[in-house]
Symmetry: C2
Subunit: 120 residues, 2 copies
């Protein structure tokens, strides 16, 4: 018998979500993602706007990279980082499951606004 059939969600997917959410749980890293959504950047381009050492930014980049959110390409003596936005889909999907739990309420509320009495 296969030994991990009992887990409905593979531990891998869980660990991956851990990594992605953790990667997003830092303002600097979210800004890096934002920059990379505009265009591919080198490490020093990415580091420029931040008031911290290049080594610190390098570490943040590594966190994003091991979460799979960015990809690295070497060109000459520079590394260029490329966003892999589709890697966010797991996180989006996870949260989206709970969207209906608040959307319901909002829908009900906007229903009330549209027809405050039995006017419809």
């Amino acid at each position: 018998m296969s030994e991990n059939k009992s887990k409905q969600q593979p531990a891998d997917a869980d660990a991956k979500l851990d990594q992605v959410f953790m990667a997003l749980a830092d303002s600097t890293r979210r800004q890096l993602i934002h920059m990379l959504a505009q265009k591919e950047c080198s490490v020093s381009e990415l580091a420029a706007p931040f008031d911290m050492s290049l080594a610190a930014v390098s570490k943040h980049i590594k966190v994003l990279e091991s979460a799979g959110l960015i990809q690295r390409r070497k060109s000459g003596r520079s590394y260029y980082l490329l966003l892999r936005p589709e890697q966010l889909s797991g996180a989006l999907d996870w949260i989206s499951v709970y969207r209906r739990f608040w959307q319901q309420r909002l829908d009900a509320l906007s229903g009330l606004i549209e027809k405050p009495d039995q006017q419809a």
Copy 2:
């Protein structure tokens, strides 16, 4: 002049996102959210399925609570926890910004599948 006009995103919102994403970056806490999406639960109900001490679960609950994702109500000697799913909207919105970056590609891809040649 107001001294924090230069920041386009208030630090508060940033810190809040930090907390929410951090709260989600743990499988145990995601499972707690899942349970609370079904129904309001007491601490011991929440702790039951987990192979860890009640004190540990209590700490996880506190993390979710300070992120604003759940709300606590005392009844007798039990605490009941209630999910506040709408508090996930900030995180969803943040990720959604980048959705188009991968959706574009998927759309293009499915376009290719629908009309593999110039058959349309």
